[in-house]
């Protein structure tokens, strides 16, 4: 099936706003995994992620009549998820999205990463790249992690991430670079031959 034949996300969302339930099913099928993983990696708890995931889609359903395709649908969807996550952080008072440039949190981030990597049993049992990668991502500073997840899970560009997070494009670019460097550093033993 050619890609051009598939309806765009924006068309599907407009169709759903007009009353087409099937359009929502298609849209949901396309983006449910990315949104769920974005939330799961950010909050680090499956139960909370489920709750936030449901809230995000409920907000989308409620806001369908006001939807206007002035931006990419994915940007709008992840903005909803981002805002819901911030509300969750504010309500729980546990953490905030901070930049990796913030030196005050640098030690905490390093501690999480070291904790993951220093565990002998985990290192012994989870040789698999994916597992280490997940831990490494979880260990990233929140802002870098968010930029990385939005880029990887949502497929958003630097500009779209910048628009969504309210940061500058250069800031987003820097966050991404820091995130990659950190991950590369954590997985250096696996990728040493490629260097």
């Amino acid at each position: 099936m050619p890609a051009s034949a598939a309806p765009s996300d924006e068309d599907l969302m407009l169709a759903y706003a007009a009353g087409d339930g099937a359009a929502f099913d298609t849209l949901y099928e396309r983006h449910k995994g990315g949104v769920y993983r974005y939330l799961l990696r950010q909050c680090r708890h499956a139960g909370v992620a489920d709750e936030l995931f449901q809230d995000v889609w409920m907000n989308l359903i409620r806001a369908r009549t006001g939807y206007a395709p002035i931006a990419k649908f994915t940007t709008w969807l992840y903005r909803l998820a981002h805002n819901r996550l911030i509300d969750h952080y504010r309500a729980s008072g546990v953490a905030t999205l901070v930049s990796a440039d913030d030196d005050a949190h640098a030690d905490a981030v390093a501690a999480i990463a070291a904790d993951c990597g220093d565990e002998p049993n985990a290192r012994a049992e989870n040789r698999e790249l994916g597992e280490r990668l997940k831990r490494a991502v979880t260990a990233l500073p929140a802002a870098q992690r968010e930029a990385f997840l939005l880029h990887q899970e949502g497929g958003l560009s630097l500009g779209e991430i910048a628009e969504l997070t309210g940061a500058g494009v250069e800031t987003v670019k820097s966050r991404l670079r820091y995130a990659m460097n950190k991950l590369r550093s954590d997985l250096s033993d696996l990728y040493e031959p490629l260097r």
Partner: protein, 337 residues
């Protein structure tokens, strides 16, 4: 991005494959579909759009049919119960105990009433003739001249009543309900209410209607039930000792008329018969009082018509027999026919 980044991205895509739970999926999808189905702006089903007018059309049709039936139905059949209820006069207990129970009027009552009134007219006229004959044949020797004059006056009044009734019968059926009631009321000696012009008798004012019913129906109906000749009742009372009741005076005529009433002939035939009877009654019923008769005889004699005067004198004597000499003045008493 470097080669390492591509490897990293590929590794990430391979590792990160978590999906929301199936229950959560179902919940979200259901909520989305519910929201769409319950949307206020959702177009309604085509079936409803096509059939929404059906109840309205049915209600309109029922209303039209009902109004049409009411308009086309004769007034008596619109509210027969009400008409019957209102027409029934409040009868005293004495009358009720005396008379057999009469069924309430039905829808065929007007036609029967017309026939009955015409029969009554006919009976009244025949009865009057018979009574007059009897009276002429057997004048009481003790009856004073004034009594005879009163009888003649009563006859005159009754003739005028009969004439009025015949006119009413001949009148085209402009007010088919009003005419018989009027005739009955007049024959009962009670002033008749104005003829009803409204198409629905049931719509008449209750007070007026009640009075009319009491005035017309009570005596008239009572007399009609006990006596087939309601008009003969005042006559009989006036005649007093000479003829206590007309039934006694003319039993054959009564029987005939009762039979005629049972047959209930058609209205035009009855009207024709009534007209003929009226003409006959006019001829025969002109009772000549003794004073007038005497004046006539004298006038004839003064005009030189001695033969006619003699005839009239003979007729006078034949009519009054023994009392003729008492009534005649001395000059005519001596004259022998």
């Amino acid at each position: 991005m470097s080669e390492i980044d591509r490897e990293l991205e590929a590794a990430w895509r391979a590792a990160s494959k978590e999906q929301p739970p199936a229950a959560l999926d179902a919940s979200v999808r259901a909520a989305a579909h519910r929201a769409v189905d319950a949307r206020p702006g959702k177009p309604k089903s085509w079936w409803w759009v096509k059939t929404y007018w059906a109840p309205l059309a049915a209600a309109a049709m029922v209303t039209i049919i009902a109004v049409g039936i009411v308009q086309l139905t004769p007034p008596e059949q619109v509210t027969p119960g009400v008409v019957a209820e209102r027409a029934a006069p409040p009868q005293p207990a004495e009358q009720d105990s005396r008379k057999p129970s009469v069924p309430p009027p039905t829808a065929a009552e007007p036609a029967r009433r017309d026939a009955a009134s015409a029969t009554d007219e006919l009976a009244r006229k025949r009865d009057a003739e018979d009574a007059r004959k009897k009276l002429a044949q057997s004048p009481s020797p003790t009856q004073p001249a004034s009594n005879v004059a009163a009888v003649a006056e009563q006859e005159k009044k009754r003739a005028s009543t009969v004439q009025f009734a015949a006119k009413e019968e001949q009148r085209p059926a402009a007010a088919p309900e009003g005419a018989p009631a009027e005739v009955k009321t007049q024959s009962a000696g009670v002033p008749a209410p104005a003829a009803r012009s409204e198409p629905f008798p049931a719509a008449q004012a209750p007070a007026e209607r009640g009075q009319a019913a009491v005035a017309a129906a009570a005596p008239a109906a009572a007399l009609r039930r006990s006596e087939p000749f309601p008009a003969a009742q005042p006559q009989g009372i006036a005649a007093g000792a000479a003829a206590p009741t007309l039934r006694e005076a003319a039993p054959e005529a009564t029987a005939k008329l009762e039979a005629a009433g049972d047959k209930a002939p058609a209205k035009p035939e009855l009207a024709k018969m009534a007209t003929m009877d009226q003409a006959r009654a006019k001829d025969a019923a002109a009772p000549r009082p003794a004073d007038e008769w005497i004046k006539l005889i004298r006038r004839l004699r003064a005009e030189g018509k001695s033969e006619e005067a003699a005839k009239e004198l003979a007729a006078f004597r034949a009519a009054y027999k023994e009392r003729a000499d008492e009534l005649l003045p001395a000059d005519l008493r001596a004259a022998k026919p």
